[in-house]
Amino acid sequence: MSIVFEKTKGLTDKATHYCPGCTHGIVHRLVAESLEELEILDQAIGVASVGCSVFTYEYFNCDMQQAAHGRAPAVATGIKRVLPENIVFTYQGDGDLASIGVAEIIHAAARGENITVIFINNAIYGMTGGQMAPTTLLGQVTATSPFGRDQSIAGYPIKIAEMLATLDGAAFIERVSTHDVKSIRGAKKAIKRAFENQVQKKGFSLIEVLSTCPTNWGLSPAEAMIWLQDKMIPVYPLGIKKEAQ
């Protein structure tokens, strides 16, 4: 019998703690497979952020540093400036990257740091129990917008991919999704390309991955996939936002 699929060497054997239906599990696999397939796992140094994915330092099978909330792009900059031949990546959620860490991601992109950023956008704060995120949709009910996000109180969601694409230092920015097999394949392609770019020293690459949070959205995993497709994609259109020559 031949092996047609096996668990990637890019993940450790530690069982993840994620909720049923959480797309972190899928994206971890896509990142890990990309590192393995590009044969860069041994040179990789990942920067874990703070959110549901805080424990990625136990899940990715490469050297890892744990960063403070929002600071992963700065930590990654420090690592990459010391070890420019290594492959340095961050894995951040929407609170980490789009709220507290918004200065760090903008400036890492503006400086054109040759790193790879995986940005998980699930429009909510998962780990801390479902509070509003900068990417929460108007009208979306969360623990800190219990009557639905009201633009007159809490403003509008932030479109990170489009915003960072305005920076000359950004080499490759794409938004992808994880709501069905086709979108997951597209996500893998984009993530692998973002790592390839780093190998080829093309500069700053960020993949915004639209993701689900069934637990805090109050939906089943299957309903959450549909909600992502129907509600998030119109606000966060998929596609390549920046592609430097």
Binding site: I45, D63, Q65, A74, V75, G78, I79, V82, N86
Partner: protein, 354 residues
């Protein structure tokens, strides 16, 4: 080696380079801007990297990353910027990473002023950031001493795997004095724990300060404090100036100690035997030296002089432990105590007016 006339800030930067520091991440703030500017000019010449970060917060996190990757790395700032760095410093301490942080202290709190002060003592030695940890803190009093402690700081940080702070002030940073530097240190410390890419040849390394299991976190902190206990035994640096026959002992560090030194001559001329204990490390604090003199028959009192409302005085009181009275005089907000002010306090103490 012949001495060069250098500004304190620049001497600190040059000393860091001589110690093998090849990475500097910083942000402009008065009165330490000469440090990043010097690093920007000189680090590329020795194959190092200077980066002006977008904030002091970003800078300290770049230091974290670089330190975790095994480099000798430094940042510098002044009081308000050091406040911004406290989260990052706590993380560096918790992850047990070596680095050097320079604080050229200015008047505070808040935006405060740009003149020299010593009002960050509590922040430097009593935590600053959250959690159970310590920094080793050097408080130089001359440009030469600033260069010496900075050059030493990197090896100390590597040896004990912790952040080391150089606590200067705006006067020391801006003044020019003759300085020479020790031979450059060529051997760096082995760092098998650094995240350099596991290369298939070793288990993966993780640089981290999160221990979700409380028992595990307690063990880590206890091991850090075992190292701190060794540091308290071995790394105290202090100057005892004319204490042998002193009736009044001044406790002062940094710029204030220079003013105190001139008062001592004046006082002795007037028949009062004054001496000085000058901590060079404010952590570890020279407790035993204060204990020793507090037990001496001829010592009547201690007078702590600081450019603050009184911070180190608490540690002096703790060390003296009630054996003798401990008085305080100082100025704050960027004002500098005068010899006359200090002499006046000595006269009050001697005249029994205190």
């Amino acid at each position: 080696m012949s001495k060069v006339l250098m500004k304190g800030n620049e001497a600190i930067a040059e000393a860091a380079i001589r110690a093998g520091c090849r990475y500097f991440f910083g942000y402009p703030i008065t009165p330490q801007n000469e440090i990043p500017a010097y690093m920007a000019r000189q680090l590329p010449k020795v194959g190092g990297t200077f980066l002006q970060a977008e904030s002091e917060i970003a800078a300290i996190n770049m230091v974290y990353g670089a330190a975790g990757a095994g480099a000798r790395v430094m940042t510098s700032s002044s009081s308000p910027g050091i406040s911004l760095k406290q989260e990052g410093i706590s993380y560096i301490a918790g992850a047990q990473l070596p680095c050097v942080i320079v604080n050229i202290v200015r008047g505070g709190p808040g935006l405060g002023g740009i003149q020299p002060a010593q009002s960050d003592y509590f922040q430097a030695v009593k935590g600053g950031g959250h959690g159970d940890y310590q920094l080793i803190v050097y408080a130089p009093a001359t440009v030469q001493e600033a260069a010496d402690v900075t050059q030493k700081a990197f090896a100390i940080a590597d040896q004990y795997r912790m952040p080391v702070m150089i606590l200067g002030d705006g006067m020391l940073g801006q003044m020019m004095e003759p300085v020479d530097f020790h031979e450059e240190v060529s051997t760096a410390t082995e760092k098998p724990w650094a995240t350099t890419g596991c290369d298939g040849s070793r288990p993966i390394n993780v640089v981290n300060s999160l221990y979700i299991n409380a028992a595990a976190l307690e063990k880590v902190i206890q091991s850090m404090f075992e190292r701190y206990a060794i540091i308290k035994e071995k790394e105290v640096q202090v100057e005892e100036y004319r204490c042998d026959d002193a009736e009044i002992i001044i406790a002062a560090y940094g710029t204030t100690s220079r003013i105190a030194r001139s008062v001592i001559e004046d006082a002795r001329g007037k028949g009062v035997r004054v001496g000085m204990i000058r901590p060079i490390t404010v952590w570890p604090f020279p407790e035993k030296i204060f204990e020793h003199y507090a037990s001496q028959e001829q010592v009547k009192a201690f007078l702590t002089v600081e450019m603050s409302m009184g911070q180190m005085v608490e540690d002096v009181r703790l060390s003296v432990n009630g054996k003798k009275p401990v008085y305080f005089t100082g100025r704050t907000g960027g004002m500098v105590p005068t010899p006359k002010q200090i002499m006046g306090e000595i006269e009050k103490i001697m005249g029994g007016k205190k």
